[in-house]
């Protein structure tokens, strides 16, 4: 039995959080590995939050936002896309495996998609093993 990863999920309240809600209503099955934090918009998530989660031992971090064009605040997810693209490169260059970090666009109608993404990410993290910085502070 491989370990159950600890995933910190930042979910935009308009799309991904609603998507996660729908996954529950649909009785979609996915591993209990993700701990969701509801944020007003994926654009609210600072790269600092991601770094902190990893530094404290999270095995994976996922940010979920609306599809392009769907952002409740018009441009929040475009900014997130730019930031996280650069952050992934920064993590890689700093010597931290950026595969532990994911950015996903999941709408409020995509309950099954949410379950699928979490299952897939959990499997990938199980292959990668625990966060090498495990142990927190």
């Amino acid at each position: 039995m491989s370990f159950l990863p600890n995933i910190v999920g930042f979910a935009c309240q308009w799309c991904t959080y609603a998507g996660a809600d729908l996954a529950g209503n649909l009785r979609a099955k996915y591993p209990p590995s993700i701990k969701l934090i509801k944020v007003p918009c994926s654009g609210r998530v600072e790269p600092e939050h991601v770094m902190e989660a990893f530094a404290k031992g999270a095995d994976g971090v996922m940010i979920g936002g609306c599809h392009f064009g769907d952002c409740h605040y018009k441009t929040g997810n475009y900014k997130t896309a730019n930031r996280m693209k650069i952050l992934a490169k920064l993590l890689e260059d700093s010597g931290f495996d950026a595969r532990r970090f994911r950015l996903e666009w999941i709408s409020g109608a995509e309950g099954y998609r949410f379950a699928e993404v979490v299952e897939e990410f959990t499997k990938e993290l199980q292959q990668l093993g625990p966060n090498p910085l495990k142990g927190g502070e």
Partner: protein, 333 residues
């Protein structure tokens, strides 16, 4: 307070540039001697040895400045001793408070650093590949020792408690005078604070578009300083040159900007920032017009870690923890 403020300066793993900045006060420093007594300034200025510091009574120094990061066993030891002897300890300059330039060495293994410094660099003549060793027995009877390099760098506050932080590479020497004045007046700022105006470099920069009532526009093309000479009057970020001004403390008065060079964050993070590099990513990325521009940025600036953490690598919790593990990981591979 009638007594003079007993002051100490210690150079840890730095380059002594911070001390040059203090010495640059010249006559003002001489005037200041009316109010302060320098009891320790090693290894650079005063003729006081580490052993003398060890013999001083605990908490006998009113105000101690450390410049430089913790890089070797000597730094680690002297900083711990100085902490014991001092009432107020100040991390003076980018290295002491954030890690500084040398902390970027943490992105490499010790073997890589040694090989570059003692074997492969162009000016090195070392055919036998000899590395310095912390202990050496000369002629079978002289036991020689030098400090050993640590597995990773640390900022001062990762090793001992620090009362105040000053950013800058080098920091502005006026902070020395301000602290002496504050101690004399018995009016010290809250422990743990940065001594800063609290304003960003952009606030002191004459290129700020806000000064002429212009709006900031999304950046459409990324440039490096080698790509041409930037317009000396327009905001560098607006021209596509990546500048850390928006998130850096502007006590320098925008001195790099005044000579057409983008800010690289030596002043330290403006208040409210935990991780300088990550916040830089956030700020710069939000000013980019599209994902293509972000991709262009990644392509043009090829090492994000050394770009964003030029002065603050060790201060980032994630980097510090990755660095703590790098030697064990290296040994495993």
């Amino acid at each position: 307070m009638a007594d003079k403020v007993k002051t100490a300066f210690l150079l840890a793993g730095g380059c002594a540039g911070c001390e040059m900045s203090v010495v640059d006060l010249s006559e003002k420093l001489v005037d200041a001697l009316e109010h302060l007594e320098i009891v320790f300034w090693a290894p650079t200025v005063a003729d006081v040895k580490y052993a003398d510091l060890e013999e001083m009574p605990d908490k006998s120094i009113d105000l101690a400045f450390v410049d430089g990061m913790i890089r070797n066993t000597e730094n680690l030891h002297t900083v711990k001793v100085l902490r014991q002897k001092s009432k107020v300890l100040v991390a003076f300059g980018a290295c002491a408070s954030l890690g500084g330039i040398a902390a970027m060495g943490d992105l490499h293994t010790k073997e890589e650093l040694f090989s570059q410094a003692y074997k492969t660099s162009f000016s090195t003549d070392n055919p036998d590949g000899v590395y310095p060793t912390p202990e050496y027995l000369l002629d079978g009877k002289y036991d020689l020792t030098i400090p050993a390099i640590l597995d990773h760098c640390s900022t001062i506050d990762q090793v001992v408690d620090v009362e105040y932080y000053v950013g800058g590479c080098p920091p502005h020497p006026s902070f020395v005078g301000k602290l002496v004045g504050a101690i004399l007046a018995g009016d010290l700022p809250p422990v743990g604070s940065w001594l800063t105006s609290g304003k960003a470099v952009c606030d002191s920069c004459t290129r700020n578009p806000a000064l002429t009532g212009q709006e900031r526009l999304p950046v459409g093309e990324i440039k490096r300083t080698i790509d041409g000479r930037p317009d000396p009057n327009a905001c560098l970020l607006q021209q596509g040159y990546m500048c850390f001004g928006p998130v850096t403390q502007g006590d320098c008065g925008g001195s790099c900007l005044n000579v057409n060079i983008p800010c690289r964050g030596c002043g330290g993070p403006i208040p409210g920032i935990k991780d300088f590099g990550a916040r830089c990513v956030s700020t710069l990325a939000s000013s980019m017009a599209s994902e293509e521009v972000a991709a262009q940025f990644i392509e043009k600036y090829n090492d994000m870690a050394k770009m964003f953490y030029r002065y603050s690598h060790t201060a980032s919790k994630l980097n510090h923890r990755v660095a703590e593990m790098k030697e064990t990981q290296h040994a495993k591979n």
